[in-house]
Symmetry: none
Subunit: 401 residues, 2 copies
């Protein structure tokens, strides 16, 4: 019996409520001039107070040294083994754009690219065309039916798009058409097993159609497809934890991930304050809430140290709207660190705090990476956060006689 | 090679002695009025002194968030994977009552219950009859032979009893007869695989016999059986660690568990002081001692904060009787936490200290949950305690060239 089976066998429904405040890219690194991280620089009286009444620690979403993408980072927080649980790039794009993927669909991630008159790839990303341009081109490609298979095309972001093949007997086991270099033609898509011949033929026909349709649209005059994948349903949070969960996230990708594991998607606005307002508006309807805050990660990826500091201060100012609801358990953590000085996701462990009546408070009273080193949770895999949250909500029965 | 195989390959016999002082329910939570846990409230000069010369930490018996029963909690302390190592409820009852279970026996846990004139269950626990009454009724049921299979019946506690079926070709893969609700008849016991037909038939015949025999004994006028299990011998502490181990425990269940993993059971009294006296009396005969102290757990389960404080102070007062023997390694830990404020076992990690000449002392000098957070052992699975104890006793050779 693995750990998930164990948790599943111990979970029970109770009226207690759990709120996960997931601050994307939460952890950071010191500014070279001040020696202080974004969290250490920010003035966060509300987080400090919450930390003082919590048990704190540092969590590794995937493992020490591993820099998580957003999907494994979030899967880990919700207790899914981020190494065992592979979500294909196509499926992720589908859920990320809110596309209603069916179990028999095959999804792929596409790039618009540039080819010369001989068909050789000259730019694998078509000069990173804008999302607006991409949206316009996707309309040209969308809605085809080839060999009785419907094909859907949706923009993702910049030169990226989603293709979904809907029909019977489609296997996703085919290679990518992206040659990973310029000066060569796109690769022919071939089946990697006998059952995938149908999809390979379709994907090649779609590529040919795209080439003809986009002929006059240089730099975006061809497509490259990769990450062919089917949606293999995951056990939901209700299956494992018997929770009735809601996701409050303004970005499509996180709503998609939440939907993938069975959360209800609550409508919200684009502001940080909207997330807290939506929590309050829907508080009676669910017993588990996933609140996603994107702003720190965006600033971190832009290398905007001050912007990340300002973002955490903004969240701190809104925190009383969450604590005021007095949930039985509050968890604050992130899906990965995004230090502004690295301008990227990083492998550094992420601060995590658990606040509950039963948390066994430690001596930490400052919301920062360095303070959390001496927290009572110590250093733990992010996959352990859910069992701890469930335990603190008194939603797990005793194991064994 | 899993960890147990590795440890087994490295273990050696030496004259050094290891004493495990297992304080059941050791960890706690703060009292709401004082903000201090039971251990923080208690005056424990001897434990504080021992901690000062030890390496300390916090251990998870099963995993973060998982509240252990006594069986998995103890199995973990002795290095057995508490998730892989399942001890059936029937077997546990058998070992717990000191019944001499044989490898071919099938054991089950029984409940006396109440049924009405139509045979519908009205109380699954027969009004929780006393152990004395239960003992009297068990005598009525004990000693039958059905289809050449001997049937033993022994009281456990209150309405609970043990049934053992002794014969050839008995498989325990049958369902429980407990319907888990009132107003219905007990379930028929059915085989879950073809080989279990014989036992299922026997168990139904025994139930029928019990119903007739107990007819005039309302509220205990029927039985429900569950947890049918065979004793699947575990590797003993001698098999894995080459130890000659003794258990000193006043409660039958812990003696049973110790016997299950090959410990000699040393006779002792019911007082905390008896445990220490028995250690002293038997100190030359063994190289490993498991001392079990029940009193803290009992007080914790009763919600008796002051009682738990008094119990730890009592143990503290007796500690010099252990340290005075100067064992090479002393381990102090528990099988789980039992905070008085929760009145139950809990998921909180359990303090653990290892005292030896070679332990690499840390800065901890107070015997408490919060002080142990910053101990040199950090936070570790309880299954890692045995290898550390063995290493500190210089009983593990080097691994690899």
């Amino acid at each position: 019996m693995d750990n998930t089976e164990l948790i599943k066998s111990l979970s029970r429904v109770t009226p207690s409520k759990i709120v996960f405040l997931v601050i994307d890219g939460l952890g950071g690194l010191p500014h070279p001039e001040t020696g202080k991280t974004e969290l250490e620089t920010a003035n966060t009286p509300n987080f400090d107070k919450l930390a003082a009444g919590s048990i704190c620690g540092l969590a590794d979403p995937v493992g020490p040294g591993i820099t998580p993408g957003s999907a494994p980072g979030h899967l880990a927080i919700f207790g899914y083994d981020p190494i065992e649980t592979i979500v294909g790039r196509g499926v992720l794009a589908a859920f990320g754009t809110g596309f209603d993927l069916k179990p028999d669909d095959v999804a792929a991630r596409g790039n618009f690219c540039s080819v010369d008159e001989s068909g050789l790839v000259t730019d694998r990303r078509a000069g990173r065309i804008s999302s607006d341009k991409s949206t316009e081109l996707c309309r040209l490609l969308d809605g085809q039916t080839i060999d009785s298979v419907e094909i859907f095309v949706r923009p993702v972001k910049d030169h990226r798009f989603l293709v979904v093949f809907r029909g019977q007997g489609l296997s996703p086991d085919v290679n990518s058409s992206d040659p990973q270099q310029t000066g060569v033609v796109p690769l022919e898509i071939k089946p990697e097993n006998p059952g995938a011949g149908k999809l390979a033929a379709l994907a090649n026909k779609f590529t040919e159609f795209a080439g003809k349709t986009l002929a006059g649209h240089h730099p975006a005059n061809m497509v490259l497809l990769r990450g062919f994948s089917k949606w293999e349903p995951l056990p939901t949070l209700n299956d494992i934890y018997k929770l009735t969960p809601a996701a409050i996230a303004s970005y499509p990708m996180y709503r998609g991930l939440a939907k993938l594991i069975g959360m209800d998607i609550v409508e919200t606005g684009t502001g940080v304050d909207d997330v807290f307002k939506s929590l309050s508006d829907n508080y009676t309807k669910y017993d588990f809430f996933f609140l996603h805050i994107k702003k720190l990660d965006s600033a971190g990826e832009d290398g905007n140290f001050e912007g990340k500091v300002a973002a955490i201060e903004e969240v701190d100012g809104l925190l009383p709207k969450l604590t005021g609801l007095q949930p039985d358990v509050i968890v604050v953590t992130g899906d990965h660190s995004t230090p502004a000085v690295l301008e990227a996701h990083s492998w550094h462990p992420v601060p995590v705090l658990i606040s509950s009546r039963w948390c066994r408070t430690d001596s930490v009273s400052e919301f920062s990476e360095s303070a959390f080193v001496s927290g009572g949770l110590g250093r733990l895999p992010s996959t352990r956060i859910m069992p701890l949250a469930m335990a603190n909500a008194l939603k797990l029965i005793k194991y064994g006689a």
